[in-house]
């Protein structure tokens, strides 16, 4: 009996660990999605700023 309990315990732990890993992966994925959404919102803002005449604003003089 003690042997059986000993065998069962690690199995439970492994299952918990796996679940924990899955949760972590889901959280990471959610976090990444959130970041990408934020990035896309920012990019959209930059694209909207690109009027017909913006080239002149960025004009430079030749350097080295």
């Amino acid at each position: 009996m003690p042997d059986a309990r000993q065998i069962k315990k690690p199995k439970k732990k492994a299952a918990v660990k796996k679940e924990h890993k899955q949760d972590q992966a889901e959280t990471l994925s959610k976090e990444k999605q959130k970041k990408l959404k934020e990035l896309d919102a920012y990019i959209e803002g930059v694209l909207e700023e690109a009027g017909e005449d913006f080239l002149d604003q960025f004009k430079q003089i030749e350097g080295e």
């Binding site: 920012y42 694209l47 002149d56 960025f58 430079q60 080295e64």
Partner: protein, 496 residues
Amino acid sequence: MRRRIFGTECEYAPVYLQRRPGPEDNQRVDDLLGRQKQIAACLMTGTGNLDIPRAGEFLGNGGRLYVDRGGHPEYATPECTSIAALVAHEIAGDRMVRDLAAAMNAQDDCRDLHILKNNVDLYGHTYGGHENYLITAQGMADISRLVPFLVTRQIFTGAGKAQTFELDGVFGFQISQRADFFDCTYSDRTSEVRGIINIRKREITHLDQDRRLHLIIGDSNMCQYTIGLKIGTAILMLPLLEAGELDDDFELHSPADALKAVSRNLDAKIKVQHRGRCMALTALEIQSACLEKALQFYAVHPPTPEEAQWLVIWEQILTGLGGLKICQPEMVLERDPFDLKRKIDWILKLWLLDRSRSKGAAERQLKRLDLKYHDLDSASGLYEHCFALDLVDRVIPDGSIESARCDPPQDTRAHLRGLVVQQALQSNLDVEVENWERIRIRARVSEPGAQHSFNRFKREVNSLGIDLKDPFQSEDPRMMENLQQFIERWGCPNAG
């Protein structure tokens, strides 16, 4: 030579964007050069308000901040001996210039000054991101053997460029910002006719024994890893060159053409002469051959821990590039299995452009996105946004960058230069930094005619010349003693 000093220079692009209607609305700037020079000069005067020690053109961290050709504010790092220190000091310079612009914006109701760290505007005007390495005279004599490495390294050092190509008027993406501006292999000029190897002789030598290798071919980089790779791989290759371990194995038929071809197509075949045979190789194949030679060399000559670290990174990046798939001719990033967009500028930029293209962005919008990638402003820069969102990898902690704003590297003459600049400024003394090798401090004239620096009897008394001939000399007790005596005699505490 295994101990080496190196540094980078960056010419920034100042850009005014209108916040609300003001005097410059709808007006063309007729005197662009005049305006750019004025902006750069204003930036320089703001250092005092931001507690950035600066004397003449030199800074308390041993670096240099000045106005360069074309009215570009330019920052040169102090002399470094480690890749980590170089990355920290280059980014510290970026942040100083960014903060100086923010301080100017606080005084202006109508416009925002933005500083771009890139190398080309949309009219085809270029400005540089230069590198300097101390190398042996023998290394300089054999420098042609480094050309294949320099031409092909853009596959991991390029900053990316979304532009309309001059030749056919077609919009496209290039790996490198600077590739189109190089016409030959060697040139002593830094404008008009640029060479892959700049052969202008410079004063920065190690007691006249060594030479300064000045490279103007590289792009200015935003990603910490890309900066580290650009410098790190060169640092790994130079000992091979100096030891005569680089032979003429790969002689490029036309280096300048190869530079442009690779920039347009990662898989472009470059014509090379290999042991008497004509072959066509990709940039990745040539880089892999360079890495192979480096691995053989360092198996016999044990690398420093930092060299070993960058050897591994170089290998990982080349493996990652091998798995990269880019759809030609549109240059669409199809596969990036090693997530190189977290490390390499041009891949990150291409990924960002692809994301925008898929949402229907027009050509002109993509061009704007390209420029905004290089904006140093943490609120409006595209790279900075990715950095804040943790979408890019870091080489060094933020604390090292903050320290590098004021602290010079401890193991080169930059340490002495920085100390002199900081101590003299604290004591209300003028500092004239004549060049990277010589500093003069001078007492301030309180009354007209008194202790005038041009008084032939007193000028030797109220000024002190300091030579920094040896780039590796970071301590000089005798010089420091002279400095302390001078400060005690002529200095007075800075009232702030």
